[in-house]
């Protein structure tokens, strides 16, 4: 999440893709139009946790936002500090799951819908419309509380979807997820989650008066597959380029903003446009960092408060942060082919495993090692959230896996949201030391063994 106060930084992040700008512009226009519609029609408006199947809402044409996307907008609009204060003033701990609690904090802001002295809206883009539907999956106890309070403060209704824990732990899930998705889950988990989805649909039909159309869902699912297919092509293209045409600074925002719009024609077209733009760079032989020497992987949530951080090691070391989970998730985790057989089951097979591949070893650790290999990674910088139970993910196993494969890892524990705890100088020094003492010597060792790899 971006922040109100920029930490000391040597340079601003340089983003070069038109697709990034286009996504930023689109999301504001989309939000304002959506809010205008909610106000005009007086229709239901939903806030969803990131792992709630938004495709159902898309197919039923129920206006919604994804909570974590809205948190990013609140951060970008410099609201975090004020919202932390509002949580405190209302008796809540501002530091608990703050990444998910921005909309809740906003609901306590009496000025949210007002204008400032210059006539600008005080709430982010004028604030969220009244939430009539608040939905989360029971993936964490605190999420249920947050959505419960959100519903209460807006006078809306809470709906909680169930969550189950994987007994199966397929090490190669990323190879199976697109076409053989039935194999990666315990069947009973999928069965239960499909029934849960049907109950959600029935509840939404009653609540909103809208009808669910399976053909429309299939259309949405096909668009999602189309979009994610482009991300796979982009990821594979970047992975095979030496030097890479773009870095995580270019790809994270371009992908994530469109990911929240998945299932729309716009998002699929945007993903295609992103691919074409990067392909042109590749065809022209353009390099993000012409003196690329080291390829770096970023593990953990994006460093929203200091994107320029990723670029600080380019000139001095030729070290390029070229991998983050945001693009790779789209490439490997979201596509579910053979939708036509059973669109609800295919959709279930997407959302039911989101926690598994992100936060459960060995799903995550086996994927990271495969990705490190595909992308010829020289070193991994791994930010482990230090205040968030939801994001606990077996970092020991992830690090062990990578190190055992000969890939050096620098790990540190930090709060990805609280800019007050972020020290750009210390972090830069730590990564520089890591590059000098571990990544470069390791690269040299490999080069000696097989000179052709250089």
């Amino acid at each position: 999440m971006a922040e109100e106060k920029k930490p000391a930084s040597r340079s601003a992040a340089v983003k070069k893709l038109a697709a990034t700008k286009a996504a930023g512009e689109y999301q504001k226009k989309w939000f304002l139009e959506m809010r205008e519609r909610v106000e005009r029609e007086g229709c239901d408006f939903a806030i969803l946790n990131a792992d709630v199947p938004m495709e159902i809402f898309r197919a039923m044409d129920i206006p919604f936002v994804v909570n974590q996307w809205w948190s990013a907008i609140c951060g970008a609009k410099r609201k975090t500090k004020r919202y932390f204060e509002l949580m405190r003033e209302n008796g809540y701990r501002p530091d608990l799951d703050s990444y998910c609690a921005m909309a809740l904090a906003e609901s306590y802001d009496p000025d949210d819908k007002k204008l400032d002295e210059e006539g600008n809206p005080i709430g982010p883009w004028g604030g969220l419309p009244r939430i009539s539907i608040s939905i989360t999956r029971a993936t964490s106890d605190s999420l249920v509380k947050i959505y419960d309070l959100l519903a209460r403060n807006h006078g809306g209704e809470l709906y909680v979807m169930g969550n189950t824990i994987a007994r199966k732990t397929p090490l190669n899930w990323y190879e199976l997820a697109a076409d053989r998705w039935e194999e990666i889950y315990d069947s009973d988990r999928l069965d239960a989650a499909v029934e849960d989805l049907k109950e959600l649909i029935r509840w939404l039909e009653r609540k909103t008066g809208r009808r669910f159309d399976m053909n429309k869902l299939q259309e949405v699912m096909d668009l999602v597959n189309e979009q994610e297919g482009w991300y796979k092509k982009i990821r594979d293209l970047i992975a095979q380029c030496h030097p890479v045409p773009v870095t995580v600074v270019d790809t994270i925002n371009a992908v994530m903003q469109a990911q929240w719009q998945r299932g729309t024609r716009w998002a699929a077209d945007h993903a295609r446009g992103l691919y074409e733009e990067i392909k042109v760079l590749v065809d022209k032989g353009e390099a993000a960092v012409p003196n690329e020497k080291l390829r770096m992987m970023w593990l953990g949530r994006g460093m929203w408060q200091d994107f320029a951080f990723y670029q600080r090691f380019e000139e001095k070391y030729g070290a390029v942060f070229m991998w983050s989970m945001y693009l790779a998730m789209g490439a490997d985790a979201y596509t579910r082919n053979h939708v036509e057989k059973d669109p609800l089951r295919a959709l279930t097979a997407r959302f039911v495993g989101m926690e598994d591949f992100l936060h459960m070893p060995p799903w995550n650790s086996s994927w990271f090692i495969q990705q490190a290999r595909q992308n010829d990674i020289d070193g991994v910088v791994y930010m482990i959230p230090d205040n968030d139970v939801i994001a606990l993910e077996g970092s020991y196993f992830i690090i062990r896996n990578l190190e055992d494969a000969g890939i050096p890892v620098l790990s540190f524990q930090a709060d990805p949201v609280n800019v007050g705890k972020w020290n750009a100088e210390t972090m830069t020094g730590m990564v520089e030391e890591f590059i000098e003492q571990r990544v470069i010597p390791n690269r040299e060792k490999i080069n000696k063994k097989s000179p052709s790899v250089q």
């Binding site: 209302n90 008796g91 809540y92 701990r93 608990l96 029971a138 964490s140 106890d141 605190s142 249920v144 509380k145 947050i146 419960d148 309070l149 209460r152 809470l158 909680v160 979807m161 169930g162 969550n163 189950t164 824990i165 007994r167 732990t169 009973d188 239960a192 029934e195 849960d196 109950e199 459960m360 070893p361 060995p362 482990i384 959230p385 230090d386 205040n387 968030d388 139970v389 939801i390 994001a391 606990l392 077996g394 970092s395 020991y396 196993f397 062990r400 524990q413």
Partner: protein, 405 residues
Amino acid sequence: MLGGGLILTIGKEVTASMSIRPCALRSEAFCTLKEAYDQRDAQALKWRKQGKKVIGKLGFDVPDELLLAAGMFPVQVCADAGKPLAEANKYLENAFESVVRAQFEKLVDGTYGELLDGLAISNSNDTIIRIFYYLREIHRVEPEKNVPPVTFIDWTFTRSRLWQNRCEFVIELFKQQVEQWAGRTVSDDEIRAAGKLMNENRAALRAMAALRHGEEVRINGSEALTIIGAGLFMDKEEHTELVRRVVEDAKAWAPVTGKRVFYSGANHEDTALYEKLEELGLVVVGEDTDWGDRSYERDMDLSCPVIRGIVDRYFLRTPTVEKSRVAQSVEILSGQVEATGAQGVIFYTNAYAEVATFNMPEQRKMLEGRGIKHMTFSRMTYPLRKNEGLDEKLAEFAAEMKGGE
């Protein structure tokens, strides 16, 4: 074993406690319970020496009924405040709460590897779900570690018929695991018999609780925690019998006087906090924790199919402070305060396990509306002695409670 000096009373070796009163220590039944509470591995070790199976429980939604039916000895996994956390610090990120870290240490350093034949983890909160992931992965990548075989009970506490049915499937899976550990099938009659035993145990504890918060308080908070907690480490039949005897003995114990306090929040595996409160002249008349009052709420319905009966007991009992909806948490606390006659409430959460704080603003409003005092202790750690400024804050609360007297 817990820390603290040992005293010898009625032939039993029990740990000295400031709050356990001489009248309690004159009760042989109470001293036997206290011995089990203090010497937590003792009965499990005896059981194992007889060639019987001991199963550890992590989380408070592991059905004793199935383990008992299979002839196994269930024992709650607990922390040891004296152990350095070398293994826990190696495997666990900062955001694991302190008690769970200390429990994990014993699960990975071989302590429980030596004691347990199996470990059943229930998804009672977000943190211990992760402990399951990590232990499962340790088994896979570091099989040389002496970690007991692990199984997971994937309760889904979302209250709907769909998820209640799913829980029946989950408990059937757990039953199959228990049968595998036992090396034999477990009959419905055996499960009903175990359910009856557990219902009797819960009934005995409810009779004990009535002496905590009746018109006259005969059993103080530390004594109650000892009586309840002993059951997590001893034979259930013996525990039931001892609790019944304590209830009879306690009717003659001197009444405890002082302002009544209800405790809400983190589990306490020892009596340290209650002792402090009692030293300040407060009386802890109830709590919403699994090491306390919550453990004996709701019986198993023996008239329905056994798996459904077990699900009914664990799925439908009062939710924990973590699992309840906010409005529900207000209603629950209101009822508990009413039932116990509490004049004050202590909210207490450990750092990194503070979901319950989302309930508290609304709960405080309710208490204030009824003129009930409250104090909140958050970002706490285990063991209790590591919390700086706690004594001062407790004294401040006690003074506020006593104000006007």
